[in-house]
């Protein structure tokens, strides 16, 4: 059987889904001007809350809601820090990552007596979430570029003062899209949990950061970001199959080499929202 089989493309789609969901979330918040490097922690929190709720209630649907809710709450936390209290966006996001990592070890141990791992818990078919993800991404492409709300979102990230003058509440808009980013990260975490059937502390494993890379490659647009995420997933799935022919040390490098090459090629060309990462201070006289 050759390397280029149907299973390769299916495996790539599974690997791409969490990356694409994070990329979509990050597209929203960065379009509004908020950098969020806390995506890794938000996805991990989503996976953990999904595991906890699924374990105790036995309901994967409730678990999904919990994952999205916890992700959104962390998004709100990040927004309060970075938008309202004007903390450095990167520092605030990194704080979320550290907070969740520590909390995950603590909670798994308190609840199950295991360090960083949960027992198996009831899951839903992860393919449902793959479908939901693709649908949301397609919808977002239209939302951001073809609707008045999308226009407002983009203005807030490009020129918040103009938006403010036009009567758009900059703070509330940034809060809303950062919360949305958190919710989508929670959804990514829920996918990871449902795909494996248990929580482990390393299950996000850099997919959040690669999601940010996919967003940059996609140039802050949802559909191209999806394609970029699929490319990352595809190379990961491909390297497993290449291990048959080349040493694993080399094949395992491929996804990272690709990330470096693609980012180096795209970073210069990406149209970064002008007010990205800059706190907005309302007219003070």
């Amino acid at each position: 059987m050759g390397i280029l089989s149907l299973n390769l493309f299916i495996s790539a789609l599974r690997l791409a889904t969490p990356i694409a969901l994070v990329a979509l979330g990050e597209t929203y918040s960065e379009r509004a001007g908020v950098i969020n490097v806390g995506v890794e922690g938000m996805a991990l929190a989503g996976a953990l809350s999904c595991a906890i709720v699924a374990y105790f209630t036995g309901s994967p649907a409730l678990a999904l809601i919990a994952a999205i809710g916890i992700g959104a709450s962390l998004g709100a936390l990040h927004a309060v820090w970075s938008v309202y209290l004007r903390a450095d966006h990167v520092v605030s996001g990194a704080a979320v990552n550290l907070l969740v990592t520590g909390f995950a070890l603590f909670l798994t141990r308190v609840i199950w007596g295991w360090r960083g791992t949960s027992p198996s818990a009831p899951t839903m078919n992860a393919w449902i979430l793959v479908g939901v993800g693709v649908f949301l991404i397609a919808l977002s492409q239209v939302y951001i570029f073809r609707t008045p709300w999308g226009l407002r979102l983009r203005v807030v990230g490009e020129h918040p003062r103009a938006a403010d003058t036009a009567g758009i509440n900059v703070y509330r808009t940034r809060l809303f899209y950062t919360v949305l980013n958190g919710a989508l990260c929670g959804l990514a975490g829920a996918f990871l949990f449902n795909n494996l059937g248990r929580f482990t502390d390393g299950m996000v494993g850099g997919r959040g950061f690669i999601g940010i890379a996919a967003m940059v490659v996609g140039n802050y647009r949802p559909l191209p970001a999806l394609l970029a995420a699929y490319l990352f997933g595809f190379v990961d799935a491909l390297q497993m199959r290449l291990q048959e022919y080349i040493p694993s040390q080399f094949s395992l490098m491929l996804p990272y080499i690709l990330t470096v090459i693609v980012l180096a090629g795209f970073l210069g060309r990406a149209q970064v929202p002008k007010a990205l990462g800059k706190p907005y201070i309302k007219e003070q006289g």
Binding site: S120, N195, D201, M203, G205, D236
Partner: protein, 351 residues
Amino acid sequence: MKRLACLGIAVFLGLFAFGQDIPKIGLILATGGLGDRSFNDQSYWGAERAAQELAARYEVSTKDVFSYVEPRSIADYEAFQREFARAGEYTIIVCIGFDQAPILEEVAPDYPDQKFVVIDAVAAADNVASIVFNDWEEAFLCGVVAGMLTNTGKVGVEGGMDIPLIRRFVQGYTQGAMWANPKITEDDVLVRYVGAWNNPTLGKELALEMYQAGADIIYGAAGKSHLGVFAAAEENPAWWALGTDVDQAWSAPEHADVIVASGLKRVDLAVYTEIMKAVEGTWSAGVISYGMVSDIGIGTGIAFGPWTINDYITASYSEAALPNSLVHEILTKLVEAVDGIMSGSIVIEHE
């Protein structure tokens, strides 16, 4: 006056305790910490068992003879090693995990009268016993089970990283499978590396890839990453999995239906044995190997089937639905393999 009497009693009791020279165990766990249901928990059981025996012997509580710490990072190791050694009251200090060895090599010479044990690595110092295991033996036995069980004639192994430790697992496993099933060639053993010890998502994809490529049983030697092998095996009733170091049908009970067997590395036994040797005065420094063909002659094996046959083939919590005749056949083959390894008629090549 009353206070003086109290003080007197306290001093007397202290002297009494001191005079009895109660042994004390210090345990420095690896960064994984308690609750990993593997290495660290096993080490703890070994030390706890020794502590309970000593506590009963000297009629004290286990707390008086046993202290342990859980370092949060590699950077904590040195401080803990020195803290225990400086106290001067520990009969033996047990350090868990290969990453403690280079630090212990620096620390141990500063405390020449202190006995140290390091598990799973070699630290060259005059007062350290370095415990190593013949990992390839447990891998060989897992290979035997895989070779006997496969219907497709292809078996897989998922390693954490392509490093000597894991290559020894792969080598043992490959030879075991080929020994048990002459139809299997080296090309029929699929080998994949996750590149991480804690990435079960990728571990599952890798396992699915091997299953889809025709392997129907996969041996996981990738830490938490190979939890993904178990999850993948659940997706098809014809797929099986093998675990590492502890009976994983016990440590991952939800997957007991697909985990047919697990290789065993008796870290608990090694920790217990070294502590008791130090207490009895038979302890010695240097490299000490545990396993079938080793200094100690015990310490590796396999958990398979419903019965404990000998020191090497023990009962498993596995709930895999295998026909009785097949279980008997595999057990017979395992006994043959153990006898062969012990007698030297089977030589497992490894790096």
